[in-house]
Symmetry: C2
Subunit: 145 residues, 2 copies
């Protein structure tokens, strides 16, 4: 049997879709003059959803490595978007909070994020979006065994 050409491989399509999404998102931020990256936005939104979260939990929930989270937070802290607060009864960890500026940015970006999600599934029925979601969950599950 002939080896599949890589174009036909669903995993290559998965990679293409993800990369194109990231490019699109970064492009939208840039074109609106918003100085934030796709990954910084993920963390900012997460912290906003759960103010006071620590880095380990943040990493797990955002599906990032703790080391990456450390570095992305360093950048966002320099930009004044987030704050690390020491915890009274535990000197190992930080509680993370969005700054006032961070909160403003979240409010600005939430509708944009909604638009971006809608763009990706333009022309999809609700059923198709669910189908895609469930199929991706199963792929994730299969690779997570």
């Amino acid at each position: 049997m002939r080896e599949k050409n890589i174009d036909e491989v669903y995993l290559f399509q998965l990679e293409k879709a993800f990369k194109q999404f990231r490019k699109y998102k970064n492009g939208i931020f840039k074109e609106r003059g918003i100085d934030i990256t796709s990954d910084q936005w993920i963390l900012l939104k997460r912290i906003h959803e759960e103010e006071g979260i620590n880095q380990t939990d943040l990493a797990r929930k955002a599906f990032k490595e703790p080391a990456s989270v450390t570095r992305i937070l360093d950048i966002m802290q320099k930009k004044g978007l987030v704050e690390r607060h020491v915890v009274a009864d535990n000197r190992r960890e930080y509680q993370l909070f969005t700054s006032a500026e961070g909160k403003k940015l979240v409010e600005k970006l939430l509708p944009l994020a909604r638009e971006i999600r809608a763009t990706g599934t333009a022309g999809f029925t609700k059923t198709e979006v669910d189908q895609l979601h469930r199929l991706l969950e199963r792929v994730f599950y299969n690779f997570n065994q």
Copy 2:
């Protein structure tokens, strides 16, 4: 309307599936003692499919930036997996070839790659794999406008 929690967002699931796939693949290579990364393998396989391809075409077909291709090839060239040949009638570009060692590695990895693809869609019907592929194509298309 409440803002969607990021877990529910299909785009987050897309990212998770892709990252988990990459981790799984890198893990398999590592566990078999094969000194190659997921991305190096993509390029190696592509060159093997089209010996003599130049970097621009390789970048387009592998869906990578030319700058990334330059650097990944540098690494693979050092490892002795690929060769850059000068072209007689065009001193700007190189023709890329897999080395003898590169070819051996391709033969070793092709069945592994097939297994990895199968792992990702374990429990899928053929229809579901096609469905996933087509849905991803449409997401890509939507973000590529």
